[in-house]
Amino acid sequence: MNRIEIRLMSLILAGLLAACSSTPPKEQSAAAVEDRTAVETAAALQASAPSTQANAGAGISGKPLVDRQALGGVSRSQDGAAALKDPANILSKRVIYFELDSNVVREEFKPIVSAHARYLQQNRSTKMSVQGHADERGSREYNLALGQRRADAVKQMMEVLGAQSDQVETVSFGEEKPVAPGHDEDSWSKNRRAELAYPND
């Protein structure tokens, strides 16, 4: 086989993997298939997601990419839902942590919000909820409002990144549902959070 044939075989293989397995058509999971072209395939399946590796496979014809994009579109609703639970996929990351008295989404958590926003953009019928939480200190009612503000901040960012307003419902549990039981900063920092939840979680 010549070089082009190897690449095409790889593409087909990657396409089959994307279509048949529960592996989601995403950059992160595709990276597990150790092939430059596989990465490119994944990028193609995600029409709206810019990829810095797009130019890497300049020698490949457009046709298979277009086909797989269509294929990916068909399988997306199934594979996409599975992506939400795939530990290797960023969509499985569901918690965004906040600083004290703050509702600013920190830089390190923006990729998570961004990935979920993209997912909602690609799955217009999908709805999800963002649950805001606060640490135990101070007024329970004020903390309820703070948790709401955190959830709303995440929702706003998702809307900017392509999600529709009616896809994201926000709710706050204030300080009522801590994940860390301690009474120190270590626990408090884990409890100041927003959690992303889908109906079938």
Binding site: R137, S139, E141, L144, A145, V171, F173
Partner: protein, 433 residues
């Protein structure tokens, strides 16, 4: 000698209402007094004649109530034979020698209708005369309540303020993943669960007539405000709008509640009807968080928490809306305002150096007194006589209820034998009727 005995009958409508659909609870609160008043009245409470035959003796409850208030000091009554039960049996010099200023005497007998006849007199040792005397008729299940009423009479006669021993407290008990809305006597006795849920319950608020309790429940996976009847146990959702519904506060006439809603965006104050009819009328207009409304006793204005200026501070505004005036200026975190019953001051939570304490501010002078030194004190609630503030704190990692006198001198701690206790709310005086 004057024999003035007023006849009162114990009405226990609220208690009988509680029994309907309310399961007895294992959780029992016990109170430990941590401090004491500056000047305590030395009082001798003599066991009532024939009370030793009762399943529920009267005088230990009366004595417990008075001593826990921090305003009374118990004088030993041992060794006086026979113990007096009538005024003519009083040996005043003997009581004076023991340091007693006041002696309480009484007797229990069976009335013609089968109920207990419980009569008592409060005797002034210096003046050698009766201060007060009453007779109560009560059945077996009302003996403890009768004892609280006797303590109320003694407290009012000797301090000039209404006693609150016959009132009730509501709080949330959390055990594992179970939340129980409990109602107990003011001494922590007889806790009954009126709502059990696996989702959080918070922000309890008694209606001014003590017949209804408003609260926030997450049972529908989001905060909704309910009003529950103490008598029937029935309830209505008074605020279940899109978004979050919380922070219920009764208007003094009991017809409306101020609540915090997020239906228009951020957390803002609204008014809703207490009977669940009609919509919500927006009260505050800010881009920040406005929450924790609390009506002034005259019903004309509310205090509330807002972070419109940065951190959370307490503001006042008219119930007709309009501009709000900031009223707290010390520190960068002041929340949870609650008017005193006389409307002259308000209790709130103040953060200072990372610690959360209960404080009280005089409305006219703006003078602030920090009352507690806990690290995580919250949810202040005034006793209906304004003399004591009930609040939630934490001891050894567990939530407990505590109380502090509004002058900061007397501190009490309510210990719950299982789980966490939080979100206390003291009932109005009317709850006993």
């Amino acid at each position: 000698m004057i024999f003035k005995i007023n006849k009162l009958i114990v009405f226990l409508g609220v208690l009988s209402g509680l029994c309907c659909g309310a399961a007895p609870s294992l959780a029992q609160l016990r109170i430990e007094v941590v401090g004491g008043g500056a000047s305590q009245i030395p009082i001798a409470i003599v066991a009532f004649k024939s009370e030793e035959g009762l399943n529920q003796r009267i005088t230990p409850v009366v004595s417990g109530d008075l001593v826990r208030s921090g305003l009374f000091k118990s004088v030993d009554v041992g060794g006086i034979n026979p113990p007096p039960s009538e005024p003519e049996q009083m040996n005043y010099p003997q009581w004076a020698a023991r340091g007693a200023q006041v002696v309480v005497i009484g007797a229990v007998s069976k009335a013609a209708d089968g109920r207990y006849d419980i009569r008592f007199r409060v005797m002034d040792v210096a003046k050698q005369s009766q201060i007060a005397g009453y007779v109560y008729y009560a059945n077996e299940s009302q003996l403890r309540q009768t004892a609280h009423k006797i303590a109320d009479v003694i407290y009012e006669k000797l301090t000039g303020d209404p006693g609150v021993f016959s009132t009730q407290i509501a709080y949330v008990a959390k055990r594992g993943y179970q939340y129980q809305l409990q109602v107990a006597d003011a001494d922590g006795f007889g806790g009954q669960s009126i709502l059990t849920s696996t989702e959080p319950i918070m922000s309890l608020s008694w209606s001014p007539d003590g017949q209804r309790l408003a609260y926030v429940s997450f049972e529908q996976k989001k905060p909704i405000v309910y009003v529950q009847s103490m008598r029937s146990g029935g309830r209505i959702a008074v605020a279940a709008f899109r978004g979050s519904n919380s922070a219920p506060a009764w208007s003094p006439d009991g017809r409306r509640l101020a609540v915090t809603l997020t239906r228009d965006g951020g957390s803002q104050l609204f008014l809703v009807n207490a009977d669940g009819t009609g919509g919500a009328q927006r009260l505050s207009q800010s881009s920040g968080i406005d929450t924790e409304a609390n009506f002034a006793p005259d019903g004309q204005s509310i205090l509330f928490t807002s972070d419109r200026g940065g951190g959370p501070q307490i503001y006042r505004m008219s119930v007709n809306g309009g501009a709000a005036q900031r009223v707290t200026f010390e520190g960068n975190y002041n929340t949870s305002p609650r008017h005193s019953p006389d409307g002259k001051s308000f209790a709130f939570v103040q953060r200072s150096g990372g610690r959360f304490s209960i404080a009280i501010q005089d409305i006219a002078t703006r003078q602030v007194q920090v009352l507690t030194d806990g690290s995580i004190d919250e949810s202040p609630s005034f006793a209906p006589n304004g003399k004591t503030i009930l609040y939630a704190t934490e001891v050894g990692g567990r939530g407990v209820l505590a109380a502090v006198s509004s002058d900061g001198r007397v501190k009490q701690r309510f210990s719950i034998n299982i789980g966490d206790a939080r979100e206390p709310a003291w009932s109005p005086l009317a709850a006993e009727h």
